[in-house]
């Protein structure tokens, strides 16, 4: 969240005005649905001057979770097509991670329509997307943006919890590594301070 992105209000308004095409059912290989999410993702990434990652597919296999994930990815595409976000030049790897892992995480909580119609979920999606792209809403500090996102998003709360647990484990491992006899014995230096 080190960079300032577009304003929250601007992106919330954009999401509230999502065209129905971006909420339609994703097309699957079995012929269900009517929006080719994979193609839409390709177009949006092209707007950001980012190529399609090889081996990645946004065509759902027909299972419930894969269809929901593709639906959320489609909604995120609408958000990412915002000209101000395009001008902010988010990094390619972050865009792809948002459209794959990020979309799957959000879809695990709610369907795409909920992120569009429910004001709280709408704010969650906007803040989540900005955060994953390394942005915070214009006019907010990192601390404000972080606090608001963790208050709104159970995914984020979970992520923070896992990250802090990992950090604690790493810190403990470092302390243990430094306390080993082999670490204490040190290694040769040509001078000693």
């Amino acid at each position: 969240m080190n960079q300032e992105g577009p304003s929250l209000e601007h992106l919330l308004r954009r999401l509230a005005e999502t065209p129905s095409d971006f909420l339609a059912e994703p097309w699957t290989r079995s012929g269900r649905g009517n929006v080719h999410v994979h193609a839409v993702v390709g177009d949006v990434l092209a707007c950001h001057e980012c190529g399609m990652p090889p081996g990645e597919s946004w065509i759902p296999d027909g299972s419930g979770p894969s269809v929901r994930t593709a639906g959320v990815a489609l909604l995120i595409c609408w958000l990412l097509a915002d000209p101000e976000l395009i001008r902010a030049k988010p990094a390619g790897p972050a865009l792809i991670a948002l459209l794959t892992d990020g979309a799957a995480e959000l879809a695990g909580q709610n369907a795409a329509a909920k992120y569009c119609t429910d004001p709280e979920r709408r704010e969650e999606l906007v803040r989540f997307a900005l955060g994953r792209l390394g942005f915070r809403p214009a006019g907010e500090t990192v601390a404000q943006a972080t606090d608001r996102l963790t208050a709104l998003s159970s995914i984020e709360r979970n992520r923070v919890l896992i990250a802090s647990r990992k950090a604690e484990e790493r810190a403990r491992a470092i302390r243990e590594a430094l306390a080993r006899k082999a670490a204490q014995e040190s290694a040769d230096k040509y001078t000693r301070e």
Partner: protein, 452 residues
């Protein structure tokens, strides 16, 4: 990953026949001291290739940055720190480098784990312990490659004095001297110098079968380089072994020109006064031609800051603050060292002037005039003192302790009397002969800075 006592295979993974013979020679010489500890280079073939690559880079790179600017690697370094190092990752974004917070020894002491980058593997981590000047021990994360990396900076410093190291198979590359009641002592070999020997010895007589063995052993080793501190060098001058080192490296404490002169005269070689920290390795070496310490690390940026983390103008004294370094286990981002100097540029090269180990301390003369510790250092400079400390009591009197020849201590007392005036009460006493390894504050005063 071994969790117990390391074995020789772990200490010297590349040990060859020449190295084994060298270790036996160092340990089993009839005049050898008691070796109390073990150490090793810990370098495997990949490490050795890394150390050689780094050495070539250190010796071929320039050191410095445009006056008033930053080195070109700084931006990427800061980005990496803020991504990978837990402590720095918590920083709020800063538009300018100078807006980033500073850290100090106390931060490292609180939780060293927060300063180790996330990608650094832990299985071969080692630690350096330092007692420092405050008495609070500090445990620092490091790696065998970092320890071996010191040599590159020493070579860079030595090159400045026209010395290149050539010790190899069958030679002793370096003897590190200590003179303390208890001292970490060991033998090893240096793979990047074809297994030249390395010995860290304690000159304290209790560590030897006979005090006379000290000179005999040193003469048998005939090291290419002698490293130590002013206390051990003072003892060396008393023992006076017949040695022809290419250079003497002094670290840890202020090396007064008087003692440096004695060493140069006795051993007819350059004596390098290194500014080196456990936290950062060798930072600078004193160059008499420039009357200052020149920097040694191509990837080390130095700022001189006031108490409010603001840069002071060039030529003004302030706290030496380091960013960068070669210890990839402990990247430093605006690390306030607790040491003070002014930064100057000579021919585009950054030079630290008037390096002093701690903040300015002011002393009050009986006539009310204030002098600072630099004035004191100045009058004591010509004397061959191993170390000294000066404290001003609340009653205005001075406690002065010094270690060195009796005549030098007497001269120091007279010099201080001349500086502070004939009515100043100066109680002079020698340091206990061996006061252990703890650093003693060189200057202190019962008067608060606000009294000045």
């Amino acid at each position: 990953m071994s969790t117990g006592e390391p074995n020789d295979q772990e200490r010297y993974p590349l040990l060859g026949e020449a190295g084994r013979r060298m270790l036996d020679f160092l340990r089993e010489h009839p005049d050898a001291p008691v070796y109390r500890n073990h150490s090793g280079n810990r370098l495997d073939a990949e490490d050795l290739a890394y150390v050689r690559r780094e050495e070539a880079a250190v010796l071929s790179s320039t050191v410095g940055w445009p006056r008033g600017g930053h080195p070109d690697w700084l931006g990427d370094f800061v980005d990496d720190c803020c991504k990978e190092v837990p402590h720095y990752a918590a920083y709020a974004p800063a538009a300018r480098f100078e807006e980033l917070p500073t850290i100090s020894r106390a931060d490292l002491g609180r939780d060293i784990a927060a300063f180790v980058p996330d990608p650094v593997p832990l299985d071969r981590m080692i630690n350096f312990q330092t007692s420092g000047t405050t008495g609070h021990p500090l445990l620092l994360a490091s790696h065998p490659r970092v320890a071996a990396g010191y040599l590159a900076y020493h070579k860079r410093a030595l090159r400045r004095f026209g010395v290149s190291l050539t010790a190899g198979r069958g030679d002793v590359g370096v003897v590190l001297l200590g003179h303390q009641l208890t001292c970490f002592t060991y033998v090893s070999v240096t793979p990047s110098m074809d297994e030249a020997g390395l010995a860290k010895i304690n000159l304290h007589p209790a560590e030897w079968r006979s005090p006379a063995d000290r000179a005999a052993y040193l003469e048998a080793l005939a090291p290419e380089v002698i490293a130590g501190d002013p206390i051990s060098f003072t003892e060396l001058l008393l023992i006076t072994p017949k040695l022809r080192p290419k250079a003497i490296l002094s670290t840890s404490m202020t090396l007064l020109p008087g003692l440096r002169g004695e060493l140069e005269k006795t051993y007819d070689c350059p004596v390098l006064d290194l500014y080196s920290l456990n936290e950062a390795g060798p930072v600078a070496v004193f160059d008499p031609a420039l009357d200052g310490h020149v920097l040694l690390q191509p990837r080390m940026f130095v700022e001189i800051l006031d108490d409010n983390d603001h840069s002071v103008p060039h030529g003004k004294r302030g706290e030496i603050t380091l960013t960068g370094g070669f210890n990839f286990c402990l990247p430093l981002l605006r690390y306030r060292t607790g040491d003070f100097a002014a930064l100057d540029f000579v021919g585009g090269e950054p030079v630290l002037r008037g390096l002093e180990g701690r903040p300015l301390v002011r002393f009050r003369r009986p006539d009310g005039e204030w002098l600072n510790n630099i004035d004191v250092t100045h009058v004591l400079r010509p004397l061959p003192l191993a170390r000294f400390s000066l404290h001003q009591r609340k009653d205005g009197g001075f406690d002065f302790s010094a270690e060195g020849p009796a005549a030098a201590i007497r001269s120091a007392h007279e010099a201080l009397a001349g500086l502070f005036g004939p009515t100043a009460r100066i109680d002079t006493r020698p340091f206990p002969p061996v006061a252990g390894s703890a650093k003693v504050p060189q200057y202190s005063s019962a008067f608060a800075v606000s009294d000045a």
